[in-house]
Amino acid sequence: MGLWQSYKLRWRRKGWRARAAVRGRELSRVVDRTSAIRPGDILLFATERDEAVRLPYFLRYYRELGVDHFLVVDNDSTDGARDYLAEQPDVSLWHTARSYKRARYGVDWMNALLGRYGHGHWCLTVDPDELLIYPFCDTRPLPALTDWLDGAGVRSFSAMLLDMYPKGPIAAQRYRPGQDPLEIAAWFDPGNYRSLKNPDLGNLWIQGGPRSRVFFADRPWEAPALNKIPLVKWHRRYAYVSSTHMLLPRGLNLVYDAGGGERASGLLMHTKFLDTLGAKADEELARGEHYAAGREYAAYARGLSETPELWTPWSEKFLNWRQLEILGLMSKGEWA
């Protein structure tokens, strides 16, 4: 990388940080328990809107993994999610009614909170419909992973988005609060992904899976990106550039081995495809607050009525992380 490009990227990074500082002012504190954060704690950052039904399981899942504190932005929920979160002893909560889209789909808010509270901590930035799976996650808690990454001098950890879906029509099974969404959305595409290297920021751009297959077969390049780097040992100078797909400085994006080996990686089990999606797609479509004016949601609203299911005879049912490792969707790397 030339000096000039390096210089440009530096200013881009500063630009994102400045933006985060401005958008961060849109956040008003609801409950601040951040004084309870201890050095070495693992922090989780999330933005949510009307996710009351998902939150109980979401919080439980990550508490059991070893997350110590949750820092959540509530984007004006009307379903009681805010009150529910405010009551949780390990949640600090901010509220904003401002535009999700203008905050670059929440990234500015996340960058603002990460910059303020994340410095020096391992920070997990996820949506309420994303559950992190990593090698040995059934026997080794998250601090085991972060200690190991620390020991290896690694600052960021890749976890590709794995779209999960039910067998049969998406709305057929009712998801109840507290339930493991993977009981319903138990299926995934085992080998239907394509990656390219982004020459600009060095990250991989991964597409594929059921969304690409069903909703974007005619416009493959518009299919959602699946590459994610949700777990980062944060430094106040870092910035997420686009969702958690990529960061600056760009060294953080080199979560893959380019020399012919495998590095350790996990997956974000994306449980978007539950019965809750139909109502959400309609609402989001009306608000136009999502990526590329809800292009994805428009496809869902259309696609869900046209295509009753995402399941194929070659879909695989989720068992455990070892299955995902054997399929080559994630890797143990040298973590043995």
Binding site: F136, T139, R140, P141, P143, A144, D147, W148, G151, A152, S158, A159, M160, D189, P190, G191, N192, Y193, R194, S195, L196, K197, L204, I206, Q207, G208, P210, S212, R213, A217, D218, R219, P220, W221, N227, V255, Y256, D257, A258, G259, G260, G261, E262, R263, A264, S265, T312, P313, W314, S315, G328, L329, M330, S331, K332, G333, E334, W335, A336
Partner: protein, 569 residues
């Protein structure tokens, strides 16, 4: 009374675990001398010492500020060893361990094991020429150069000083005729050997020399034991494995069974949060193995596999954390596969015939412009890969590598021709997994059979021939790695069995003396069709020569040439 086992414990973090382990050693009757890193705040140290003050067999030694790779670790060990030897005169063997070491067999068994070998020193000690585990390229230079700078804090100075010494050709001499040896820093020495090392009349000279050696805790005792020991068992009783960067592997709860079965005495490093390991191994009856010898082979294999995967990915796998740069891949594809160029046009039912005779999965034209023609007309196959041409063309290489990865275990075969997407021609020709069998000019057969007049198909024929010629250039280049065979259509028509047999053998089918062949398509009038193309001003040279007259009047064809084998790996 038998000699006792004494333990030196080097501690700098995870004090609750260190306390547990120290008490465990002491409970078995072992005196323990603990060295706490000077970098640990006094308050923390004092609290730790106070917590252990009820145990008379646990004492603390003079503190040094320890830094990885430097003399400080040896100094700390020396001081602790002196304390141990002078405070506990009945100690026979001294075991060097850290706070992250966990006894995984009853300490009594270790005591018995050592009591049965009262004169043996257990210390891994090999000459520098024989050890493969050095990191950073520093081998013999660990001894011949001086290392006054800390690798972790002062990397630039460290590197610059190494470089400078190399330039001026510095060679430090070993004092006292010592021969440099290296090995694991976790040893178990007899009192006699340890005392001899510490009381060596030349110790001042030794210490002065090793003070500037790189990572002396892996060489000081290992070198001097060679001078003073009566009997060296060159192995460590502590099972400790290093990854490819030279960092110790860490044990977690899920290693419990593995550790139990290893019958090793002590393991490191244990993750401080591994509650199950600490609970299991620090209870009295844990891991009883009688007089069995330690056997760390299974642990070796597990970690060796991890290191292997870190440097060599699973062949043919492209994923989020393994995306090799051009030319760095273990293998582009996961398994052998066959590309058949022109066969489907020339032989009737060749797909079904190949499936029956090889057991392979035989697809149609996977890269056809309309859709990926999966075998049996499937629209979706393994991996949930679909037949969409748009998705495939968004990244043809990912399509191919996914297809081969998803179906590994069964040979895949597909048809190819100049109508298909050509973007992978180089990728496939350079892939050692690819077997390519090509009949040139076969694109003319569907045009001929379409019944359309030559004037109408002329432009299309010219286009297909040009595309195929480009592909042939790739196949005939010296940069290919696939197994490639090329015949002209005329040759295959003359002796079809030969081409088909080659395809079968490339796909791994057993040699059969009698072979039921698929039928050639009816080529009655094909020569005339080619002539008509020629008359239209197009020159179909890739088909080879076909006589223009009716088949019945044809002269016997010339004896065919041998198949043109570009490369036979």
């Amino acid at each position: 009374m038998t000699a006792r086992l004494g333990v030196i414990l080097l501690v700098h973090t995870a004090f609750d675990r260190a306390e547990q382990v120290a008490r465990h050693w002491a409970r078995a009757g072992c005196p323990v001398v603990i060295h706490v890193d000077r970098a640990v705040p006094r308050a923390r140290h004092d609290a730790f010492a106070r917590a252990l003050s009820d145990e008379a067999r646990i004492v603390f030694s003079r503190r040094f500020r320890c830094e990885w790779g430097t003399w400080s670790l040896v100094a700390a060990t020396q001081a602790a060893a002196e304390t141990l030897l002078s405070r506990f005169p009945d100690v026979g063997h001294v075991y060097l361990a850290s706070g992250a070491c966990l006894p995984i067999r009853p300490v009594e068994e270790l005591i018995d094991y050592l009591a049965a070998r009262p004169e043996t020193d257990f210390i891994e000690s090999a000459t520098t020429a024989e050890v493969p585990w050095t990191v950073g390229g520093l081998h013999e230079e660990r001894f011949t150069l001086a290392f006054p700078f800390a690798w972790k804090r002062q990397r630039r100075l460290f590197d610059a000083y190494v470089e400078l010494q190399r330039r001026i050709g510095r060679r430090r001499e070993m004092p006292d005729g010592l021969v440099p040896h290296m090995g694991s820093q976790w040893w178990c020495l007899t009192r006699e050997t340890l005392a001899a090392i510490l009381r060596d009349p030349n110790r001042a000279a030794h210490d002065r020399f090793f003070r500037r050696v790189w990572i002396p805790d892996e060489s000081y005792f290992q070198t001097l034991a060679r001078r003073h020991a009566r009997r060296i068992e060159s192995r460590s009783l502590t099972v400790s494995k290093f990854d490819y960067q030279g960092r110790p592997h860490i044990f977690y709860d899920d290693h419990l069974t593995l550790l139990r079965r290893s019958r090793c005495f002590v393991a490191r490093k244990i993750w401080p949060g591994a509650d199950r390991l600490y609970d299991a191994f620090l209870t009295e009856a844990a891991g009883r193995a009688g007089r069995a010898e330690p056997d760390p082979a299974r642990i070796d294999r597990l970690f060796a596999k991890g290191a292997e995967r870190r440097t060599r990915a699973r062949p043919g796998l492209w994923m989020q954390s393994s995306f090799p740069a051009e030319g760095r891949e273990t293998s582009v594809t996961a398994a052998p596969y066959t590309l058949l160029h022109g066969f489907a046009e020339l032989f009737e039912g060749v797909e079904a015939w190949l499936t029956a005779s090889t057991g392979a999965r035989v697809h149609g034209h996977l890269f056809a412009p309309e859709r990926a023609e999966f075998a049996d007309g499937a629209t979706v196959i393994e991996g949930a890969l679909t037949d969409s041409a748009a998705l495939r063309d968004a990244n043809p290489k990912a399509f191919l590598t996914s297809l081969i990865w998803n179906t590994r275990g069964r040979h895949q075969c597909f048809q190819f021709g100049p109508r298909d997407d050509q973007s992978l021609n180089w990728t496939i020709a350079q892939d050692p997994n690819a077997r390519i069998a090509a009949v040139t000019g076969a694109w003319a057969v569907p045009l001929f059979r379409s019944g359309r007049p030559a004037a109408e198909v002329r432009a299309e024929a010219a286009h297909l021939q040009a595309v195929e010629a480009d592909h042939l250039k790739v196949l005939r280049s010296p940069w290919t790695a696939a197994r490639i065979r090329v015949w002209s259509m005329a040759e295959v028509v003359a002796t079809p069995a030969q081409a088909l047999r080659s395809v079968l053998s490339d796909m791994g089918a057993p040699e059969a003396a009698e072979l039921e062949m698929p039928r050639l398509v009816d080529l009655e009038g094909f020569g005339a069709f080619l002539q008509e193309l020629k008359n239209q001003g197009m020159h179909p040279y890739l088909t080879g020569d076909f006589p223009t007259g009716p088949a019945s009047q044809r002269a016997a064809p010339r004896p065919p040439r041998k198949p043109y084998v570009v490369r036979e790996p």
